[in-house]
């Protein structure tokens, strides 16, 4: 099983889902994520599961809601405009405790934008995206291997928290081919979700999965329960800290941009500059505590994003009591090289 395979990030996500025991996939075409439904249309059926090309992203997300409510591991994937359409169902799933995995291969926006890489959906992904007070656990893989690994984890987390979990990638991750080592996790047995899933009463008390709470105080109670759940998710934070120990400047970047920033940091290190990289892997919950520790140790910060400044808000919120962060924007749709990061990094390092 430890053989390397050479595949696109999109396929890594799909294969990760299959390894995680995903049994239902609901999709709709949109670039740059088409490889996922295309791959699934055969692979998941071969594995004894179900594939539906829905009539719209709205329908795909609601199919996910239906399958998730029966306690079957299920997934949908899309890209930015399609993810906007899925938000209604995502809010309902969060509101009624339905586990599911939603993949967003972020493209450039707003509107139709373009099909190139971008990170403009950070706010939408980490602030709920749909209506009401809710959060998703959001993973931002930077490599094909991470895409595979985190997709597997996403299913476990979705069921652990009875909540939708998002994999947030972009066109770079989705379209780039690289070697990964697939592995087979131990799968949960048929008892997963047995205490809440719907499959006909079979003689037990009936069950109801809903997000409507009209009785006096009931919605407040539900929101309290959800908030407590999001608090617990704080225990799931993941990040990569690269050369941060003795760094004077920490570059904060995630996903594909985090990976490119790492190359820039590595190069600048070789040239003797004391820079490091902080790459959040969970975007929600945001790894605020380790970042604050770095701020307390007196480091400076530069956030680099493939958007006009979104994650920088979370960086600033994390370190606000002791420090601030500079910001460098890479405009959506362009594919940056590590060299483009050097000048802003050096400027920040010098406090300019």
């Amino acid at each position: 099983m430890a053989d390397k395979i050479f595949i696109k990030g999109n396929e890594a996500v799909a294969r990760g889902a299959l390894a995680a025991g995903c049994k239902c996939f609901f999709g709709y075409p949109i670039t740059p994520q088409n490889d996922i439904p295309e791959f699934m249309s055969k692979a998941i059926v071969d594995a004894g599961g179900e594939f539906v090309q829905a009539e719209s992203e709205v329908a795909a997300a609601n199919m996910l809601l239906g399958a998730g409510a029966t306690g079957v591991r299920s997934m949908t994937s899309s890209s930015s405009p399609g993810i906007s359409l899925k938000q209604e169902a995502i809010s309902y799933m969060a509101g009624s405790g339905i586990p599911a995995v939603v993949v967003n291969m972020n493209r450039g926006g707003p509107g139709l934008g373009d099909i190139g890489p971008a990170q403009g959906d950070y706010y939408q992904s980490t602030r709920g995206g749909g209506h009401g007070d809710y959060r998703l656990l959001v993973y931002a893989p930077a490599t094909g291997q991470e895409a595979y690994d985190l997709t597997i984890k996403a299913f476990d987390m979705a069921f652990k928290y009875r909540n939708p979990v998002m994999i947030l990638g972009d066109a770079i991750l989705g379209q780039m081919k690289e070697p990964i080592v697939p592995w087979q996790p131990e799968l949960p047995g048929d008892e997963e979700g047995a205490e809440w899933r719907l499959q006909g009463t079979g003689g037990r008390e009936k069950r109801l999965i809903k997000s409507l709470f009209l009785e006096e105080g009931a919605l407040a109670g539900q929101n309290q329960y959800l908030q407590a759940k999001y608090e617990k998710m704080q225990g799931e934070i993941e990040y990569e800290a690269f050369e941060t120990d003795d760094a004077d400047l920490i570059v904060c970047a995630y996903g594909s941009i985090g990976r490119i920033a790492k190359s820039a940091v590595r190069k600048l290190r070789k040239a003797g500059h004391k820079v490091g990289l902080f790459r959040p892997i969970t975007l929600y919950p945001f790894p605020a505590a380790p970042l604050l520790e770095m701020a307390k140790a007196g480091k400076r910060f530069l956030t680099v994003e493939h958007n006009l400044g979104q994650m920088v808000d979370d960086v600033r919120l994390s370190i606000r009591t002791v420090a601030d962060s500079d910001f460098f924007a890479i405009y959506p749709g362009n594919l940056p090289t590590p060299d483009e990061f050097e000048e802003p990094i050096l400027k920040s390092l010098e406090g300019k």
Partner: protein, 256 residues
């Protein structure tokens, strides 16, 4: 002394919970619920049934039926049902939707679920109005009918003609059974139940999509007494929405 042995002729179906409903007097949702409950009992489906609730006055149906249930966003019940049925093929999956839900916001979902031949049953309650939100115009509102958003009466030139869903659905490939019944008289209620049974059988016999439209009264938003509202179904609705079976693959002699 005459023999006073009483014979019980009418009981609450086991699938229907023993509690008062929230419906207005003369509303037909309760009748439709009862028919569904009777069939779940008679067809032995209760323990494997999965109800996909929808948005509208019937949103609390899950409190009245003794079955597993999930709530769908407005109009999306056929997509939610698709996911549930694909995930658990052994369940009996059905949706229960109003006309605003099914023929307006959920038009795409119903058409495509029907066309794919999803093995689900759809109970479609057509009362020509948006009940829950206070009587606005629905896609099924009759020409000339006054609602809060067509106060001068629905105008064919501005608002179009009322949509005939059963006629449309029956044209789609995956549909095994499509019929329109009415809940305004005992005779029509009996026929409506037969239609529902057929639609349910399409799923249990793996034939395809089952669809039943039920013409129903909304006395509150029609601003009529229950009796007058009931009469309106026969006088105004049935002439525009003719009752009957529009598609039945078992009679046509084969699956779709």
């Amino acid at each position: 002394m005459t023999d006073m042995n009483e014979k019980l002729v009418f009981e609450r179906p086991e699938s229907v919970v023993d509690r008062a409903t929230h419906y207005c007097p003369g509303c037909h949702h309760g009748v439709a619920h009862r028919l569904v409950g009777e069939l779940l009992d008679e067809m032995n489906l209760r323990e494997k049934a999965l109800l996909i609730g929808s948005i509208g006055c019937s949103v609390f149906l899950y409190n009245y039926l003794d079955v597993d249930a999930v709530e769908a966003p407005h109009g999306r019940a056929p997509a939610v049902a698709t996911g549930a049925k694909r995930a658990r093929n052994d369940c009996f999956v059905f949706t229960y939707q109003g006309d605003g839900d099914l023929a307006s916001i959920g038009m795409a979902e119903i058409m495509h679920a029907a066309n794919r031949g999803e093995r689900i049953a759809v109970v479609f309650v057509n009362n020509t109005v948006y009940g829950m939100t206070g009587g606005q115009m629905a896609p099924t509102t009759l020409v000339g009918q006054k609602t809060t958003t067509c106060p001068g009466g629905r105008c064919r030139d501005k608002e179009g003609m009322p949509i005939k869903m059963t006629e449309i659905i029956s044209q789609l490939g995956g549909v095994a059974f499509a019929a329109r019944g009415s809940l305004d008289s005992v005779k029509n209620i009996r026929t409506a139940k037969k239609y529902l049974r057929k639609a349910f059988e399409c799923q249990t016999n793996n034939l395809g999509f089952g669809f039943v439209e039920l013409l129903s009264a909304c006395p509150t938003n029609w601003k009529m007494t229950p009796v007058k509202a009931n009469e309106r179904i026969g006088e105004e609705m049935i002439p525009y929405f003719p009752l009957g079976v529009y598609k039945d693959v078992t009679e046509e002699g084969g699956a779709c």
